[in-house]
Amino acid sequence: MSKTAIYVEQIVKRFDEVTALNGVSFSVQPGELFFLLGPSGCGKTTMLRILAGLETPDSGTVSFDGEDVATRSPYQRGAPMVFQNYALWPHLNVRDNVGFGLVERRIPRREIHAQVDDILARVGLKGMGQRLPGQLSGGQQQRVVLARALVVNPSIVLLDEPLSNLDAKLRADMRAEIGRLHRETDIAFVYVTHDQVEALSLADRMAVISNGNLVGIGKPSELYHRPPNRFCADFLGRANLLAATVTSVEGEAIHIDTPFGPWVGCAASGQTWRVGETVLGMIRPESVTPGIAPSRGNSFKALVENVQLAGATLEVALREGNTSCHATVLSRYATPITVGQQADWHVSQEDTVVIKQDEEPSAL
């Protein structure tokens, strides 16, 4: 059995009065692309800096490959970081920037030369070695930073919002590039971002952080389709939240009373449900489909209040009494959906997620 690449347990970090991290625990497997996702100020960058040893936690443990690293100074951690502002040394050319870590590891000069050449070719910067960072474009600088981290042959690489300084087009390219570089190696990446699209599209697994608490962890599809709480539901995409009451529980199936009638839903595992409990029924707009459910679905009737064309999709606003709901359907030239229409809609039971009511998500 292979060891865990990173194991983090009960990390607490306070800055004066502010609690940046409030008992965060997770583990990262070797070679995994792991995301820390959360809004700005949630503590995710602090977590990354603690992994790098640039901040010291008030309590809790961090171990790499099964070994506690608390006593290792930041320069002995061996977890190179891709800084948000790149931190390319302006007085060193590309070659010296990339070779920096190898020099510190006392690698012979000839070998450094070969390894730097190799990594520059891999990130697509062949022949740029003599340039100074100031002479490179944003995307090229990003590649140098990646090369600088990868060249020391680490088992862990830390990335702090690596794409935030790039424009939209370049961001998509670099996202793919980082995915490719990760697949070519067996390095565990810990990637911090506030952009849920970046996380959902790249991550092997991800952790959602809110206010210093870890509020969700798992595979992207799992977290998106079965959010464990309201924060994850809202933060990972758009969500319709319906006030509901639990009427009965049969194994995985949870029966709830909604303003649209009695529904059956499911939930993220590890939670217990009480009959009569006030909960929320969460449905993603894209799972709301026109027509009556074929067999085991949740059907309802609603008034079409508004229809907006968003190109590939139609954004439909529905209302039944005091309850409103959004649906996203694929757009066609001849659409049967018109404003003012009273129509049938449905959601499958797998896409109906029951989540707890509380405003502040509890820490996992």
């Binding site: 640039l54 100074s73 931190a87 302006p90 007085h91 920096f100 020391v152």
Partner: protein, 567 residues
């Protein structure tokens, strides 16, 4: 284990620097206070009281204050309009003028005094000129009739660049949209300047004016050359010989120190509110420099021309004295020669003085670079308990006149280490180097401080993250990134140390240890054509210093002004 050893080192550096400053700054100051207030019978304020009651002492204090006030006022009158149009108006040759305005700083006023004294002398060129055109019917004894005239002119012309640099920096930092807003609400340009710009620039103006006031108040060389002996600095210089026996010297030093500190305290108090304005004054839009044309341009050129001519007059006259064979009752010298330049670097006295000065300035420079960088690094990067303290203490020499430090050294080190290498009477070299270093330390700290603040800490974090130990980070990343700042600070330290006056005059008491400045002073007093040789030596030093300042200005660019900021 390793964590412990890496976090011990900064503390060790912090405390050794504090110890260094305690011995070479704190102790001498305390010693001076003790000397002024404690005699054989214990604590007594008799000597301090004598300074403000005895008519002779009172006259010295009055003269010193008069000089300082006149010099500060003159500097304000020159600098304010100049700084305003240099910051807000565009005109041809502006860059050259802003460079030339720094030139006065490169010559210690007491060397210029040699020149001006000749110019104003009874039988000097000014008298000759006035007699030639019929405005005077005999030689006029300018310096006899207006003893302070030369001193005030010289010191003003030497010190106005400090105030000017502070003001330009202040004006440049004010958001132009604030003035636009004033105009938009109906303020004329003049009213907008008075009601918006000037109040916002006040902190910089006060800071510069305080420095000028203190420098003028404690200037020793100029009154000494002009023979005005009844001013505090000269009276302190005269009490050097009886430092161990007469407490009056200490009392005078304490008085100087108290007045300097009071000046700083006032300036800080008056600008206290400005801390909250700092966030408002940031530039939000690009500045438009209005081009000047026609009559206003002519006015600016004549103003700049007149000030520069005045400011460079002492330098030019020094050069002319060095070149002249004979200059007696004529407008221009009667005959030219290069002989004195040869003699200025040919004699035993001057050669030794040059070697001494070079050695001292280099040593002081090295001490400053090392200590200054460490202080800035501790304050900006480490933020240890006590580093705020360190910053304050290291900046103290700006407010403590050189005269005070030199006098304190002489008193405490000759009393406690008689005959050793720390006794200035036996060998002043060590203390001279240290006193030069301590006095220039603020400039170095400031240069390194600015550099570190402009350099993102992530450069160092990235290096640490890739496996560089703290020492390796400093060597491979921090120092290379700070080269320009450290070099500029070092050049300034070196240049100022080369032509340091008060420490040199007070501490160096035997000829073999004379630095250049004391050699110039001695030459002037002495032998045949001494003034010419002194002027030639001054010219050599001027050239050296000018080259150094130019180099520093190139390295620092617009940040040059920040070097002379107080507080």
């Amino acid at each position: 284990m390793s964590r412990k050893s890496t976090s011990m080192a900064p503390h060790l550096i912090l405390w050794s620097i504090l110890a260094f400053l305690a011995v070479f700054l704190g102790w001498p100051l305390l010693y001076v206070f003790r000397g002024a207030c404690i005699d054989a019978d214990g604590f007594s304020l008799t000597y301090m009281k004598a300074l403000v009651t005895d008519p002779i002492q009172l006259q010295a204090l009055g003269n010193s204050l008069t000089i300082a006030v006149l010099v500060t006022t003159t500097c304000l009158l020159i600098s304010l309009p100049m700084a305003w149009f240099m910051a807000r108006r565009m005109f041809p040759l502006k860059a050259i003028f802003s460079g030339l305005l720094l030139v006065p700083l490169i010559l210690p006023p007491f060397v210029g005094a040699v020149g001006l004294k000749t110019l104003f002398a009874r039988a000097g060129p000014l008298s000759a000129l006035l007699m030639n055109i019929g405005l005077a019917d005999g030689p006029v004894d300018w310096l006899g009739r207006f003893p302070m005239l030369g001193i005030v002119i010289l010191e003003s012309m030497h010190l106005f660049p400090i105030l000017y640099l502070n003001m330009v920096a202040s004006f440049a930092n004010i958001d132009p949209s604030l003035e636009d807003a004033a105009a938009n609400l109906g303020a004329s340009p003049w009213r907008a300047f008075r009601r918006v710009t000037l109040p916002l620039a006040m902190p910089g103006i006060f800071a510069g004016a305080t420095l000028v006031f203190i420098w003028a108040f404690t200037e020793l060389g100029t009154p000494l050359v002009f023979g005005l002996r009844r001013v505090l600095p000269v009276m302190i210089y005269d009490s050097v010989s009886e430092v161990g026996t007469n407490p009056m010297g200490y009392a005078r030093v304490v008085l100087v120190l108290l007045i300097s500190a009071f000046g700083f305290w006032i300036s800080k108090r008056l600008t206290r509110r400005s801390r909250h304005m700092a966030t408002l004054g940031r530039l939000t839009v690009g500045r438009q420099e209005t081009p000047l044309r026609g009559l206003p341009l002519l006015a600016v050129y004549s103003f700049l021309g007149a000030v520069l001519a005045m400011a460079l007059l002492p330098h030019i006259s020094v050069l002319m004295i060095a070149l002249s064979r004979r200059w007696f009752l004529s407008v221009l010298p009667q005959g030219w020669t290069l002989e004195f330049f040869g003699r200025a670097i040919g004699s035993d006295l001057t050669q030794r003085a040059m070697t001494n000065s070079l050695f001292l300035a280099l040593t002081a420079c090295v001490i400053d670079v090392v200590v200054g960088f460490c202080i800035a690094w501790l304050c900006v990067r480490k933020k240890l308990v006590g580093s705020d303290w360190l910053d304050t203490v290291a900046m103290l020499p700006i407010a403590v006149p050189g005269l005070v430090i030199a006098f304190g050294y002489l008193g405490c080190f000759s009393a406690h280490f008689p005959g050793s290498w720390l006794d200035p009477r036996t060998n002043p070299m060590a203390l001279l180097a240290v006193s030069y270093a301590v006095r220039r330390l603020p400039y170095m700290v400031r240069a390194a401080h600015a550099g570190l603040q402009q350099t993102s800490i992530t450069y160092e974090e990235a290096a640490t993250n890739l496996g560089a130990s703290p020492l390796r980070v400093i060597r491979r990343i921090t120092l290379p990134l700070l080269t320009a700042n450290l070099l500029a600070g070092a050049v300034l330290c070196f240049a100022f140390s080369m032509l340091e006056v008060s420490d040199s005059l007070i501490l160096a008491q035997s000829e073999q240890f004379y630095p250049i400045t004391k050699a110039i002073y001695t030459l002037m007093e002495g032998l045949e054509n001494g003034v010419n040789v002194a002027a030639a030596l001054g010219t050599w030093a001027m050239a050296l210093l000018g080259a150094g300042m130019l180099w520093a200005a190139c390295l620092l660019g617009k940040r040059m002004g920040a070097m002379f900021r107080a507080g």
